[in-house]
């Protein structure tokens, strides 16, 4: 697959999304139902990615004790919830992952 097609088409899709309402809706309001649905997009898409990254290994569900990513993600979630600090969340998550990888048999 040619990476440059991804960049061209993905870039166009992003730019047109950003430009759309500036050109079309200059004098109008976005419909409230559409606005409610759009507000849910980040929560849905990022949560799905997080869950897949944490719980799946090579497409298989891994809930075992040896999946260190589960504990690391829980620790990071707690830090993000309490502190809203991006760097601290990354630091605690990676530190937990590395600590478990080194200590678990």
């Amino acid at each position: 697959m040619n990476i440059w097609y991804i960049l061209l088409l993905g870039g166009a899709a992003t730019y047109l999304t950003r430009l759309s309402m500036i050109l079309l809706f200059s004098r109008r309001q976005i419909p409230p139902r559409l606005e409610r649905a759009l507000r849910l997009v980040p929560a849905a898409v990022f949560s799905a990615i997080i869950a897949q990254e944490v719980f799946l290994q090579n497409g298989q569900l891994n809930l075992s004790f040896h999946n260190e990513r589960i504990a690391a993600a829980l620790a990071a979630t707690l830090v993000a919830w309490r502190t809203r600090n991006v760097l601290l969340t990354l630091a605690v998550g990676m530190a937990t992952l590395w600590a478990l990888q080194m200590t678990l048999p």
Partner: protein, 234 residues
């Protein structure tokens, strides 16, 4: 029109925009570096990894693209996923539209390119605070947007440089999940959002075996539907 674009005012507003954006750059720079590292570990050529930061210029979409690229997802699904992930920009676009309405089309085309999460956050706050539509200068938006743009390109370059030199055993791909946890967890403040997050997570896990990462789109759509119906007004 002439008052909005008079050069001294434009320059003054530009630098106010840059200063307003500056604190956010501390949070953005690590993302740019992590993106650069992930792009290289996904097998992207360094030139393409860097060019993506200019051509797509959307952090979360770029993160996801690295992951999809690594699993050889078909082009159409990657572009569709980028589109869905960036749908929130419709909201930003609609929200700034009334303030940009008096500007010439060239300004609209330029500022639309700079309409990222972080530039939007700073700009809309400024616009709403100062009120009075016709007096807005494009300078503030331009300053905030270009400050973020420069930071994103530079931090990507650092990440691309580091990415070539970091060992695989560090599990740095996990920073993708952690980054999204840091972004999304603090925003889950109402029932509809929590429902969307939980449903999308569950569907994402059980549909993980579907080919071409189709599970990701399915989980996102069902999460939005569920969150919509379970939300406050649903």
């Amino acid at each position: 029109m002439s008052e909005q674009n008079d050069p001294p005012r434009l320059a003054a507003e530009f630098w106010r925009g840059v200063r307003a954006e500056a604190p956010l750059l501390i949070g953005v720079a690590p993302f740019g570096m992590i993106y650069g590292v992930l792009a290289l570990s996904a097998g992207m050529p360094p030139a393409a990894a860097q060019a993506m930061s200019a051509m797509v210029f959307a952090g979360s979409a770029q993160f996801i693209t690295t992951q999809l690229y690594a699993t050889a997802t078909p082009l159409i699904l990657i572009v569709l996923t980028i589109f869905v992930v960036n749908l929130r920009h419709l909201l930003y676009s609609a929200s700034v539209a009334p303030y940009l309405q008096p500007l010439r089309p060239a300004w609209k085309f330029l500022l639309a390119y700079l309409l990222t999460d972080e530039a939007y956050a700073v700009t809309i706050a400024e616009y709403q605070r100062s009120g009075n539509l016709p007096k807005h200068s494009p300078g503030f938006f331009l300053g905030a947007g270009l400050a973020l743009w420069a930071c994103w390109q530079a931090s990507t370059a650092v990440g691309v440089f580091l990415g070539a030199n970091l060992p695989q055993s560090w599990s740095l791909d996990f920073t993708l999940a952690l980054t999204f946890i840091a972004i999304i967890v603090p925003t889950l403040k109402e029932r509809g959002l929590v429902a969307a997050a939980l449903i999308a997570s569950l569907i994402g896990v059980v549909s993980g075996g579907l080919p071409y990462k189709l599970g990701l789109l399915l989980a996102t759509l069902l999460g939005i539907l569920g969150g919509y119906w379970l939300g406050e007004e649903g």
